[in-house]
Structures are given as C-alpha cells and as structure tokens.
Symmetry: C3
Subunit: 137 residues, 3 copies
Amino acid sequence: MAEQQVLHYVTHARSTLEITRDIAAIVQKSELECGIVHIFVRHTSCGLALTENADPDVRHDLDTLLQRWAPDGDPAYRHRQEGDDDMAAHARSLLTGVSLSLPFAHRHLLLGHWQGVFLFEHRNEGHRREVVVTLLG
Amino acid sequence: MAEQQVLHYVTHARSTLEITRDIAAIVQKSELECGIVHIFVRHTSCGLALTENADPDVRHDLDTLLQRWAPDGDPAYRHRQEGDDDMAAHARSLLTGVSLSLPFAHRHLLLGHWQGVFLFEHRNEGHRREVVVTLLG
Amino acid sequence: MAEQQVLHYVTHARSTLEITRDIAAIVQKSELECGIVHIFVRHTSCGLALTENADPDVRHDLDTLLQRWAPDGDPAYRHRQEGDDDMAAHARSLLTGVSLSLPFAHRHLLLGHWQGVFLFEHRNEGHRREVVVTLLG
C-alpha cells in the first residue's frame, strides 16, 4: 500500500533547509506502521541528502567542497544558458542525488541521532521546490 | 505488491542513453496506481542518474567533470586489469550510483519537467547492460 | 507488506566490510518472494555502496579517490571538533550515500556477478554501526 503527498518549499540561494520534521510528521500520521518513506525533488538543480544536524559548519563545509567539485563558471562547461551556477547546479545535483529513502517503524523515522534530512538548493538564487513524499509499508 | 521485469540495452562508449520512456511505459501498464518504481543496473561500471533532458551539453559537461573526478589511467590506481578506463568506470559508478527510485501516481511518473532518466555507460566501449525494474505500490 | 530488522557491525578504520551474504540471508528467509530490500546506516560518517567484489584493489583505489575528493584536515574546513577525519568522513558519506535499494526475486538478490554490498567506514577509527534492513514486496 502506498501513501503519497507533495510538499512545497521556498529555498534561499546555495543553502540547506532541514525538512526532517515535515517528513517525521507525515510518517507519524500514516496508516502504515512500518516501511520506507521515499522523498523526491522534481528538479535537476537541487538535491536531497542526509547529513549531520548539530553543527551548521558541516553544511558550510559541504558547500565548500561542492564548489570545489563543481566550480561555478568553469571554462570547460558548454551549458551556460542560465549563468555561472547553471551547470554547477546540475553537477551538484548528480553528487547529492535527488531522492532519499528512509526506514520507519511504529510510525517513527529510524534515523540516527545526528542524521537530518536536508533540501540542498544548488542554484545561486532561491526557488520554489516541489518534494514528493511516498510511503510504502 | 511488487511487479518486476528486466530491460536490456546496448550502450555506446562513455555515453548516456535516455530510458525515461521505457520506464514510463512500464508504469503505464502496471496494475499499481501509485507507488515507487525502482530501477537498478546489475553492473559496477555503468550507472543511472536523473538529469536535465533538454540540452545534451549538460551530459557532455557531466562527462567532463566525471573525467576530472575519476581520471582514466590515473597513476595512483592499482586496479588496471581491463585498461585505463577500468578503475575510472568503477569510481564513476560510485558517484552516479547504480539505482534510482521514482514516484508515480495514476500510472504516471511524477518527474519534473526537465528530469530525464539516463543510463550512463562509464566504460570506454559499448556493453550489453541489464536493468531490473521493480514497482511497489 | 514490510519486514524489518537491524544488523550490528564493528568496523575498522577507513575500511570496507562486505555484507552481501547477510543481506542475501535475510532475503532468503523472507515471507516475500519478490520486491526490494532497502539497507540503511544510521550514521553520518560511514556509507553503503555497491562495487566490484573480486579485486580488493578496487576498494583501495576508491579510498585513494575519496581521500582526494575529501582530504583529511583540509584547511578550508570549519568543522573539526573530532579531528582531521571528522569533516572528511561527512563528505565521504555524502558521496557514497548511506542507503542502498536492491531488487530480489524468488528470494534471491538480483545482483550482477561482480556486485558486492559494502559498508564503508569513513572515520579513521573503527566504530559500532547499525544497519536497518527493510524488505518490501
């Protein structure tokens, strides 16, 4: 049996937005006791990742590395219609991924103590982002 | 309830093959109305990723970056039995991943407007590739 | 229908531990004939990935690349409470991912011939690691 809903977010430039509580609330209200919650962004220039939720410097440092791995305005890029961050955002999206699957039981997410669910905005401007949440159990 | 089938592809060297339509067709014919479609390559030297489906330069630039991240014939590699692209292909596979999970509803994939499903051939030669598609709902 | 259990491992510093057999054994004993097995680590400094299971040099070379992508003690890092490998481990975790989903049929994993499931310890010391295994079918 599947349950599904869509969440909407407004992001800020090159930032991370913690959405753990929203996902936990959906799981809490589910008819399903145990299973998997699948989270998916319908975009190619943002991403989803689990990472440490205690020290914001972790996300700062991940951004530093993402900038190193996929530099803005790299002279090697051919795709540059929408500016210096356009291709970089697609590459960041490849590295972070655009979906997550998390286990739950007794209507609680089975996350580790330090794991948070983060929506990564990979563009240099904020955007409206759609997140599809599907529960299977 | 699960539905499963295997797709077969013949790839070309270091290229991407869009398989969105094949996946959409399977979802369209499913008994399941709503759920997740899981796509999996049974190989360690190719990959699956969602990315922009409009401008082929995006995949060209991703290849440029993959070559930078995991250079062919890097002197640091020990694993080089099958040539310069052997270890590079395994590393590319780690970065792209070998599976994708996509939500669907009313027998339609809930992809964003610009999201395409791509099979990435990470080797320097074409190969026969097996893709397992499993629907849960 | 979902089935779920937790596995416990003790890892060694910066090493990979193959857990394919443990996952295959769970699938073998399942009530479910066909579906997906989801594997998830409840941590932000280790990871899960499929890679070649024949030549251990592949994992050695992946570690070489991970060290290049996310250097220990990089001067750019702000997050350094737990030592030089702290932030590097979070970054490695982003790149490998912390979960895998694998298809199965007739109670057998549908892995390719050379695909092994590996728990990657990204820290410079061994740790106790919890892995949640959920089957859907």
